[in-house]
């Protein structure tokens, strides 16, 4: 590993779930205050911030709550990769030396029900929406259906993913859905988007997450700093023949998902191999996504997943703990906050602060991954 340039020194989270009377922006600002407190820094120390939400307002307006210090503040609006994109921006600004201290914030407050997106906003013809094809859960169902067909994975593995999520969330006071569910309850629940049942799909929700980062030289100026190094932060978009959300057609020879490219670049830039990862958070908008993303990110082989879940390899005490805070399945998906929640959890695990859900044996390297419409992925590699 080369000498890391960027450290995460503060983390903050507004609990995920439903919070009547609290706006998305307020949740974001709350998370920033906690992250600053955790870092032992003041908002006026932050020179560059980036953040955003999908549907809950402009991040930079939270200076009204945090202090209008005149800092550079970039609003980011990039679907499921909003938090990841904001993090990439701040990471690059720190690496370049443009600033010494940066902050990242993501938040959202979605109403109940599926996301209502308009085809015109996604470079798609109007009929795609009127025909009823503009629904993310259709993609989830269709991608995992084909994946199961190609790689011999069966429905009980989908149930194991969800069951693990709720089990992990039971030990996470910030999670939304903390009641453990048996695999049978999950399998026999209402079918929503075949082969995915109600409990195999995450719900749009509410929450906020924030990070404070600095250049490594700056650590000497922070009292009692507890740095976790951000070794890479990478964003990639889709290729022409890929199988992505909102694709009216697919090529006969499919291009790899943007997750493949983003993960590969993140590992290369970090100088860390997938086999060295001790704890991973991968996008689990539904059970199938976690299964597919583990392989797309290089953390296992395609088709290996049934065995991994059967022998408990992805549990907290397994060889590759995955989505240790309950993931999207148990935390819900406030789009802007979701990717930063993964980094928050990974920092907690690498610090050894994860309490009841702490991964044993002092994990040293972590990985995070988000994926979303219309084919975008952001990945990070972190280490102690």
């Amino acid at each position: 590993m080369s000498e890391p340039a960027v450290a995460i020194v503060g983390i903050g989270l507004h609990p995920f779930g439903r919070h009547e009377g609290v706006s998305g922006l307020e949740m974001g600002a709350h998370a920033v205050r906690l992250a600053l407190q955790d870092a032992g820094l003041r908002w006026s120390d932050v020179q560059f911030a980036a953040g955003g939400s999908s549907s809950s307002g402009n991040a930079d307006t939270m200076v009204a709550d945090l202090g209008a210090t005149g800092l550079t503040f970039l609003n980011v609006h990039n679907g499921c990769a909003t938090g990841g994109s904001a993090l990439v921006s701040v990471y690059n600004a720190l690496v370049s030396g443009a600033c010494e201290v940066g902050a990242v914030v993501g938040f959202d407050k979605h109403p109940r029900g599926a996301f209502a997106e308009q085809p015109e906003d996604w470079s798609l013809p109007a009929w795609y929406g009127t025909a009823g094809l503009m629904v993310t859960t259709q993609f989830f169902g269709m991608k995992i259906r084909r994946y199961m067909h190609d790689h011999g994975i069966e429905a009980p593995t989908l149930a194991k993913v969800a069951s693990k999520a709720f089990r992990n969330a039971a030990n996470n006071e910030n999670a939304w859905r903390r009641r453990p569910l048996s695999e049978d309850e999950i399998l026999n629940a209402r079918m929503v988007s075949d082969p995915l049942t109600q409990y195999m799909l995450c719900s749009p929700g509410e929450g906020g997450a924030a990070l404070v980062l600095c250049r490594s030289e700056y650590l000497a100026r922070i009292q009692r700093a507890r740095p976790i190094y951000l070794r890479s932060a990478v964003l990639r978009t889709r290729q022409p023949q890929s199988f992505d959300v909102y694709s009216p057609a697919l090529g006969m020879e499919l291009s790899p998902s943007p997750s493949v490219a983003a993960a590969r670049a993140a590992f290369e830039q970090a100088g860390v191999a997938p086999s060295e990862i001790d704890v991973a958070q991968v996008q689990d908008t539904e059970s199938g996504a976690e299964i597919i993303h583990l392989a797309e990110c290089g953390l296992c082989q395609h088709g290996e997943q049934s065995g991994l879940y059967r022998r408990g390899a992805t549990e907290i005490d397994g060889e590759l703990p995955v989505n240790t805070d309950g993931g999207c399945l148990a935390n819900g998906e406030p789009i802007g906050a979701s990717g930063l929640r993964q980094v928050y959890e990974t920092v907690l695990q690498l610090r050894g602060d994860a309490g009841e859900r702490q991964v044993p044996n002092e994990p040293t390297a972590g990985f995070t991954h988000v994926y979303g419409a219309p084919g975008v992925s952001a990945c990070t590699v972190l280490s102690r």
Binding site: T130, M134, L250
Partner: protein, 107 residues
């Protein structure tokens, strides 16, 4: 590429040639839309909604097209033969769908 665009999604070139796609194909993957999609953009009311199939249909070796599927979702299988059928939305605007080819007519 499908649908037709002014430029190629692979090379961004503007010389796009129209090509008639096969009207028969095989089901590559599928799901069932069991709740009324958010409207707009969906044209249809939640009250009168009935679940419908959605899948990617492999048209020879040309392209896999996403489509509404007609028929009983319980009978859908990867690899089954489907053919193009006209479909109207609630406003009478044409959309399209694929339906299973009946045993007696399939070869």
């Amino acid at each position: 590429m499908f649908p037709l665009r002014k430029r190629c999604t692979a090379c961004a070139g503007s010389e796009v040639i129209r090509r008639l796609l096969p009207s028969r194909g095989t089901l590559w993957t599928y799901t069932v839309q069991r709740f009324a999609p958010p409207s707009p953009p969906y044209r249809g009311s939640a009250e009168t909604f009935t679940p419908f199939g959605v899948g990617y249909v492999e048209l020879d070796d040309v392209v896999r097209v996403e489509s509404r599927l007609i028929g009983d979702p319980e009978t859908f299988r990867i690899g089954m033969v489907l053919e193009l059928v006209p479909l109207l939305d609630v406003d009478g605007e044409p959309i399209y769908a694929f339906a299973p080819v009946h045993e007696e007519t399939s070869k």
